[in-house]
Amino acid sequence: MSAYVLSIVSLVGINIILALGLHLISGLCGQVSLGHAAFYGVGAYTTALLAKAGYPIGLTLPAAMAAAAVAGFVVGLCSLRVREDFLAIATMAAGFIFLGVVKQNEALGGEIGISGIAMPSFGRDGFVALELGVTVLVILFCLHVRRSWLGFGFSAVADDDVAAQMVGVDNRAYKLTAFCIGTALAGLAGGFLAYYLRGVSPDAFGFTASISVLCMVVLGGMQSIAGCIIATTILTLMPEVLRFADNYKLLIFGALLFLTMRFLPDGLGGLFALARRKEAGPS
């Protein structure tokens, strides 16, 4: 595989981890978040700082997950007080505050960011292998969560959080768990991104980034892990595929987003469900 393909593939992997994190929060547990990139950033910055300090990848990535999960827990606690649109905007606020703090803090590199992170000792191919391996593990983990009683509880909370309580599912604990796991995954993705870019700069974690992750999750269909993975892959590859379209790339991206949701509101997951039903229909 050429370096180009490898770099694209690892970017897809990072985005899948990131999007699956949001999928847990917004798709499975129903808490729409407009601030997911902040946790991506927390992970990336944690990794960057530790890696610069000389810690190995085996330590920086878990630390990134932990830091992002703690941040996720705090935001989750705040968000328990608000619902739906208010929740979306509260998480958006969290994203802006994260960015404001990072940009103003020279210890975090301020506007300049952090650079010069060394590739892990096992080299670039090893890194890509590790990253893809972890991506697979994350996918398996998400599939497990979905199949487990945790996912069962999440879907109940997403569906109707009052009814969930009536069957003994503590909606607060579940929402917080979703936030912690989902943001930990975002932190993990951020950690990989820091190595991938050999550095971090604040603008990669702004509102636009949060929106594009949400687009991946929604386009995939809020309920479907496969849909989420496919949508993430498509959206990540889109700039590559659309290189020919040059000047019209973003326009096509916007149009695709608009048209898909306008005419296929259940996303790709909805499309699969439709196909399955058609298949199952005649028999």
Partner: protein
């Protein structure tokens, strides 16, 4: 009104008062429900029945008073904790989980030990046992044949039964049923009422809020009547229904002259 044979009531409500803004929804009401009892909580619209139920279930915090479930004070217990402590609840307006099959709706409740905390929940996958239990419950309420259906495609009668089955799956000490018969036709209502009666006969303590007085009278042993937030009667069904205060509450002032 405790049954002397029962040492400890399954559910006890002590001196509950609830005020919304300037309106007193419940005005210092107390009652107890003995184990194995089947009590109808009745009263005209706006009497405070649903508020009372929400107080018991933990959705509304009363200004004054206590709720005891099986002798345990429920103060500070949120809805989910109460549910796990043994309060089975069904909703007046059905609230199935729309994205789960009927079977899974019940299985989720049957697995309340699995969902007790996210840590426990993530560790277990198999739903086999809970689905088996759920299937039994669906059979018990008579909807096993549509166990794998999508709740959105089911008629109200089925969903009402689903509510009951889901509440039962919590293995409740007390089952609170909020208008399980509302919206059902005569035949359906009669059948569901029979089911409720059977459940009670098998040992489940039931508190039933019901507007369908005909069915309620048929199955309940005891009626508890609320009107304007106050308890106006409590006792055996026949006695309560003969009570002038109760009939006045239902039919309005002057019914006696009118019917003569």
């Amino acid at each position: 009104m405790m049954d002397p044979k029962q040492p400890r009531p399954a559910l006890e409500v002590r001196d509950i008062a609830v005020q919304f803004g300037g309106i007193r929804a419940i005005d210092h009401v107390s009652f107890a429900v003995g184990k194995g009892d089947l009590v109808g909580l009745i009263g005209p619209n706006g009497a405070g029945k649903t508020t009372m139920l929400r107080v018991v279930s933990g959705q509304v915090r009363p200004q004054v008073g206590q709720v005891l479930l099986d002798g345990r004070d429920m103060r500070g217990f949120r809805v989910a904790q109460r549910a796990r402590t043994g309060l089975g609840m069904s909703n007046q307006i059905v609230r199935p989980f729309r994205h789960l099959t009927l079977l899974d709706n019940v299985a989720l409740a049957a697995g309340h030990d699995r969902t007790s905390s996210p840590w426990v929940a993530i560790g277990s996958v198999s739903r086999k046992r809970q689905r088996a239990a759920a299937m039994e419950l669906l059979a018990l309420v008579g909807i096993a044949s549509v166990a794998h259906a999508d709740p959105r495609s089911q008629p109200l009668g089925v969903l009402k039964r689903l509510e009951v089955a889901r509440a039962l799956a919590m293995k409740p000490v007390v089952l609170l049923l909020d208008e399980p018969l509302a919206g059902l036709n005569q035949a359906e209502a009669g059948k569901l009422a029979d089911t409720i009666l059977e459940l009670n006969a098998s040992g489940v303590t039931i508190v039933l809020i019901e507007h369908n007085l005909a069915e309620a009278q048929r199955i309940c042993r005891r009626f508890l009547v609320l009107d304007n937030g106050r308890k106006i009667a409590d006792g055996p069904v026949a006695a309560v229904m003969a009570d002038d205060a109760v009939i006045t509450a239902y039919l309005g002032e002057g019914w006696r002259n009118a019917t003569r």
